[in-house]
């Protein structure tokens, strides 16, 4: 089961969003989905008369997409959130928190806290019961405290 979504190239994103806006669609939100070690996709959700229209845009981790915030101001918050959590950047963001929407210190590409492939997991460790093996249990590795200051905690899966 998959959602219906129109696949759009990053270069065509603004034109497609403009077309939807002109057709009377309301911007709902965006969803970032991690696919594998190197690839992500961003889903853009629009609504008109209670029917959702979704756009699917592929992007590499640490990559860049055009920002919708100049066209749809409501997009600025979710674009900043994705920057914080997944280290994607957005060109033309009208209100750019520089990776500090939630965190006091900017996130970097190597410390994207919501990417599971950057979270260290011990094969034999039971999640939540092994202090030091989960980012949340280790001072300095929580999102926003000291990103990127714990070598070894942000490596492969």
């Amino acid at each position: 089961m998959s959602i219906e979504a129109l696949t759009v190239a990053p270069a065509d994103l603004l034109a497609e969003a403009t077309r939807l806006k002109n057709d009377g669609y309301r911007f709902v939100t965006m969803t970032s989905v991690e696919l594998d070690q190197t690839n992500m996709e961003i889903l853009y959700h629009f609504d008109k008369d209670l029917v959702l229209k979704n756009l699917r845009v592929a992007v590499e981790k640490g990559g860049k997409l055009p920002s919708l915030s100049g066209l749809l101001f409501g997009a600025f918050l979710v674009e900043n959130e994705i920057r914080d959590q997944y280290a994607l950047t957005f060109d033309g963001l009208v209100l750019d928190y520089q990776g500090k929407l939630y965190a006091e210190t900017a996130q970097t590409a190597s410390s994207s806290p919501f990417c599971k492939y950057h979270v260290k997991a011990e094969p034999d460790a039971k999640p939540g019961n092994q202090p030091g093996t989960q980012p949340g249990n280790q001072p300095g590795t929580q999102p926003g405290t000291q990103p990127g200051t714990q070598p070894g905690t942000q490596e492969g899966k």
């Binding site: 989905v33 749809l72 999102p143």
Partner: protein, 358 residues
């Protein structure tokens, strides 16, 4: 004229939860407002990869206490859709009952806080006194006042017997009378009108373009409510969205007031349609694929994107809460306001920061 930056929050008498606004003022007029978040961010979406899909029900209920039942309803609906099952009719009607009781106590809570924001303390106390009756109903029927934890994948875990149904109906008669007795104060009192009418106006077009949700959208004249999607038991109930057109704080307040009465009506309708039946169907297999599911929370449209891979753990849980959608419109309407109106306008979006940050 020299500009002054005034910090508003994160701790402020009108804010139930922490959010910070940097207000740039010229004299006492706001010319710019920059929101800052991050005080209650918990990374709950990330827990999806560490907890199994049944444990996630307890997690999503804690995205926001005030609308916990509706969060878990949205989540369970999504999992059910992925697994190709549907909750039994009785369970769907019970979901309506508890979700509308949640909306009712949330709106009463907000109306009280709103009254408090412009110094009307006796109105605040009256509204919260009424709200306690709803909290009693929640506690007696589910075991908890706020986080009622009734939803499971495939249905609900609690039921109502005949005496409880009668008690809820009797209580709602008194609650409705109490709410109606405050109608003229909330809508017509000169103190209330002076602090709310014409203040913080969000036009219909701006509300739509900025992606506003819930009473913020409907207070600006857009008749959109996710209950029109007929989820849970709403397909069998008479329902029309409550709409006001002024787009100001008064309109948003009036939408919530009228929705409180509407929720009482919906609970009655759902209780009248309760028939004997199962509370849940068994879920077999593991969630696989991706779904988007939407419900109407007290603060507006809530969207869940769920992606499963056939294991116990979901790959992605994305939650777009209504306050998250209403912050850009708030940032857009604050410039031009008098500083003294800022607390009232901020509260008029019914900010839920726990929801926003997750």
């Amino acid at each position: 004229m020299a500009r002054t930056v005034i910090p508003f929050g994160p701790q402020h008498p009108v804010l139930p939860e922490p959010i910070h606004l940097s207000l740039v003022l010229e004299d006492e007029r706001v010319v710019e407002a920059l929101p800052t978040l991050g005080y209650v961010h918990r990374g709950l979406e990330m827990l999806a990869v560490k907890r199994d899909y049944n444990q996630m029900i307890q997690i999503v209920e804690r995205v926001c206490g005030i609308c916990s039942m509706i969060h878990s309803l949205c989540y369970c609906q999504g999992i059910e859709e992925m697994m190709g099952i549907q909750a039994p009719r009785r369970a769907r009607m019970l979901r309506v009952v508890w979700s509308e009781l949640h909306r009712l106590h949330s709106h009463l809570l907000w109306l009280g806080l709103f009254a408090d924001s412009f110094g009307f303390e006796s109105l605040f106390m009256q509204l919260w006194k009424i709200r306690e009756r709803i909290m009693d109903l929640n506690e007696a029927t589910t075991g908890n006042r706020v986080i009622v934890s009734v939803n499971v994948v495939g249905g609900v875990r609690a039921d109502l017997d005949e005496s409880q149904v009668r008690w809820i109906k009797d209580t709602l008669v008194e609650v409705e009378a109490s709410i109606r007795s405050l109608q003229s104060t909330i809508m017509n009192d000169s103190t209330v009108c002076k602090r709310t009418k014409g203040i913080g106006v969000l036009t219909r077009q701006a509300a739509y373009d900025l992606g506003a949700a819930g009473p913020m959208l409907r207070g600006s004249g857009v008749a959109q409510d996710m209950r029109q999607l007929k989820y849970a038991g709403f397909d069998e109930l008479n329902f029309e969205p409550v709409v006001e057109t002024a787009g100001d704080c008064w309109a948003r307040s009036t939408v919530r007031f009228r929705e409180s009465l509407q929720s009482i009506d919906l609970v009655r309708q759902a209780l009248d349609k309760l028939e004997p039946g199962d509370l849940a169907v068994k879920a077999k297999g593991k969630p696989e694929g991706e779904v988007i599911t939407r419900v109407e929370q007290p603060r507006g449209e809530c969207l869940y994107y769920l992606k499963g891979n056939g294991t116990n753990n979901l790959e992605r849980v994305r939650i777009r809460t209504p306050t998250f959608a209403n912050i850009p419109p708030l940032a857009a309407i604050l410039p031009g306001l008098d500083f003294a109106d800022v607390p009232v306008v901020v509260l008029s979006i019914d900010p839920c920061i726990s929801c926003t940050e997750r």
